[in-house]
């Protein structure tokens, strides 16, 4: 069995992103693999380990620096990777999906796993686009996955858990709760150095210009919250009521 895992290399969940001149300032910001994608990789590894045969192939589209994120997943245990190297980050999920789908076609995986959204832009579109370009089904926000004879049984998190069956190959978008991703080990890191990473480019794939229909034009910091006010003692009650009425306009 061949499982493809799509990963995104994003500013770390702890990172503070500043905005300057309508652009995101990511200089000096730490990047890591989007946590949702860690669930995808862990699930792929568990499936292959249980089967005792097969391989996990990591796919990423983005600039050269993403090699570090790819290495992290190889260190966790993925077997090899395909990196579509772009000059800059691909911010249009439609184009990212198109590129990934093209690379995936060549590999023909039996199952495609990815985080249901990236932790950076929170869009949740890329995986769906991949499925669309490949003409295969998708299920997103999956917290439980069972495979049996060419089918995937997915529990999709919602107000009520939905159980959805799809034929493979399919794109499954993973959500927190699916598993506990392992930590990479030193041995894994050493092994990862020798694992093959195939690099290609949009030009080689023949998609130098994607079907980009939406672009980010500006970023702005939301107005910062006003500092809280503190009132002490019962005698301040009248003042609080006044402010609730006149300033906060809630009563």
């Amino acid at each position: 069995m061949k499982i493809a895992v799509l990963i995104k290399y994003c500013p770390d969940s702890e990172a503070v992103i500043k905005v300057s001149d309508g652009k995101l300032d990511t200089s000096g910001v730490k990047y890591s693999v989007s946590p949702y994608d860690e669930y995808a990789c862990e699930e792929a590894l568990k499936i292959i380990e249980a089967k005792g045969e097969g391989e996990v192939v990591v796919f990423n589209v983005g600039p050269q620096k993403n090699a570090k994120g790819i290495k992290d997943e190889l260190a966790r245990g993925a077997d090899r990777a395909v990196h579509i190297v772009t000059d800059a980050e691909v911010t249009c999920p439609r184009y990212a999906g198109e590129l990934l789908a093209a690379a995936l076609k060549e590999e023909n995986p039996d199952l495609i796993l990815c985080g249901w959204k990236g932790i950076d832009y929170d869009l949740g579109v890329t995986g769906i686009k991949v499925a669309e370009y490949l003409g295969i089904p998708h299920v997103m926000i999956v917290t439980k996955l069972e495979l049996s004879d060419g089918k995937a049984n997915c529990t999709r998190q919602s107000d009520i858990d939905e159980v959805i069956e799809v034929a493979l190959p399919a794109v499954i978008g993973t959500q927190k709760g699916l598993n506990e991703p392992r930590y990479p080990s030193l041995k894994g890191i050493m092994k990862a150095k020798k694992k093959p990473v195939k690099t290609t480019t949009p030009a080689e794939i023949g998609l130098e210009r994607g079907d980009v229909r939406a672009e980010y034009t500006d970023f702005a910091q939301p107005p910062s919250k006003q500092a809280g006010k503190k009132f002490e003692g019962p005698e301040s009650a009248a003042e609080v009521v006044k402010l609730l009425r006149e300033e906060a306009k809630v009563i």
């Binding site: 990172a15 890591s32 930590y183 030193l186």
Partner: protein, 467 residues
């Protein structure tokens, strides 16, 4: 001796700080009668929450004249009973004095009132990209004043030093009410005796610290953590000095034996692949160059591997790093919630850690007292938690003191001492003579007498004012 508080005293205190800040209700009294030291309980006669150094000065003058004990209290997280009013009197609760007066980005100094919670101070400086490294595991509750009074450490001390290395100036109210300002935003200062440093670690016995000038640095951009599992705790301890000899400069190097790890995992409801290993080392490295950091963390992993680690795992993303730290930070509470306990804060030269650990385990096994050890291995600082567990009250009472004495003697014989960061306070006082010579004790008594001739400031702590 001391004068019990009368209504006249209380009304005078009220005239100094205002009615609402002199508390005698049972809840306030109960709160101020305990800290985090075992089950010690010493109720004060009243709790005063001062708002300015001037008010504290007036209180100290009054208390000196009337012979009323005054005990400063920070966050109340102390582990040697320092904030407990063992002779009653007034507890001076510093919580109202919590302003950050200044963050001076030009000189990289901050000026704060000492009632600020350590973590709030850290968060505030991190907002402007700066860093105050000392990080006692209690940082969410303890105050900067308490950190200064205890010279607190924490995991990062191995690279960045302890509280004393970050305090450059103070404002202190002396027991006679005088207010002094030793030190300042000066990186060099040889102007007479170093009074600033004398107050650091003085455990609230020499003066009430009201403001502090704290050094800051830019925050390192990246950090990564590795966790190495060993099936032999001795091998884990032996690996620690090798890391430094190999030129690594970890920002933390922590040790946990099996029981500590398993209790901590239970406490934070986590699992780890090698949770049943005999010991773990947690090593953190920070820096500004991501590639170099990756090389260094790999090298640290190799050193552990060569030192006999059975497995080494890595955490790099912020989320993963936090997960591992939550386990380590949870260890103290996890172990302490397990049973009645007594915690010892042994410290030896780093390379003697293996001998300290082996000796402690043997002493405890021989005396049939359960021990759980973890600590700041890079500093040679091992926290030994002695647990009552299944012992009867009598067994606990009779076995504990000789076990502690023997542990401390062993520690001192290795060139170590009996407290690395928790202080002597009340609970370790009887053991001080094991580590400090009589002439030194006499000097300390003389210093105490000079600062506090009436013996009203935190009486009964650190040393007894005999002679």
């Amino acid at each position: 001796m001391f004068t019990p508080l009368s209504d006249i005293h209380l009304s005078h205190l009220r005239s100094i700080v205002g009615d609402e800040f002199v508390l005698t209700d049972p809840e306030s009294i109960d709160y101020a009668s305990r800290d985090e030291t075992e089950d010690l309980c010493f109720p004060p006669e009243c709790v005063v929450r001062p708002g300015t150094p001037g008010e504290i000065s007036a209180i100290m003058k009054f208390a000196s004249a009337e012979k009323i004990p005054v005990t400063p209290r920070g966050g109340g997280t102390g582990l040697s009973g320092g904030a407990l009013p063992v002779h009653g009197g007034i507890v001076l609760y510093m919580d109202r004095m919590h302003e950050i007066i200044e963050i001076d980005e030009g000189n990289l100094f901050a000026v704060v009132e000492t009632g600020i919670i350590t973590e709030m101070f850290q968060d505030a400086v991190e907002k402007v990209g700066l860093f105050y490294p000392p990080d006692p595991a209690s940082r969410g509750t303890c105050f900067i004043g308490g950190n200064i009074a205890e010279n607190a450490g924490g995991p990062r001390a191995v690279k960045y030093g302890v509280t004393k290395d970050w305090v450059y100036g103070l404002e202190v109210v002396l027991p006679n009410g005088e207010i002094i300002n030793p030190g300042g935003k000066l990186l060099k200062n040889v102007t007479g005796y170093n009074l600033t440093q004398l107050f650091i670690g003085s455990e609230g016995t020499l003066g009430v610290i009201t403001k502090a000038v704290m050094k800051l640095i830019p925050k390192p951009k990246f950090s990564a953590v590795l966790l190495a599992a060993f099936d032999d705790p001795h091998a884990a301890c032996r690996t620690v000095p090798v890391l430094f000899r190999e030129g690594l400069d970890p920002s933390a190097c922590e040790f946990m034996e099996r029981d500590a790890m398993q209790m901590a995992l239970g406490h934070v409801e986590k699992t780890l692949p090698n949770s049943d290993a005999a010991a773990h080392l947690l090593i953190e490295i920070d820096g500004n160059d991501e590639n170099r950091l990756a090389e260094e963390i790999e090298k640290a992993g190799m050193v552990c591997d060569e030192g006999g680690a059975i497995d080494v795992i890595l955490a790099e993303s912020g989320q993963r790093v936090n997960e591992i730290w939550d386990i380590r930070r949870g260890a103290g509470e996890a172990v302490k919630s397990h049973s009645i306990y007594k915690e010892e804060d042994t410290v030896v030269p780093r390379a003697k850690l293996p001998d300290l650990f082996v000796g402690v385990k043997k002493i405890c096994a021989d005396r049939r007292v359960r021990s759980v050890c973890y600590g700041h291995a890079g500093d040679g600082n091992l926290h030994v938690n002695l647990l009552k567990d299944t012992l009867t009250d009598e067994e606990w009472a009779s076995r504990l003191p000789p076990t502690i004495t023997e542990i401390f003697k062993h520690c001192v014989s290795l060139g170590g001492t009996i407290s690395g960061e928790h202080g002597i306070g009340w609970s370790q006082k009887e053991y001080l003579k094991l580590a400090v010579s009589e002439p030194e004790l006499n000097l300390m008594r003389g210093i105490k007498k000079l600062f506090d001739p009436h013996g009203i400031l935190n009486p009964g702590k650190v040393i007894d004012n005999r002679n």
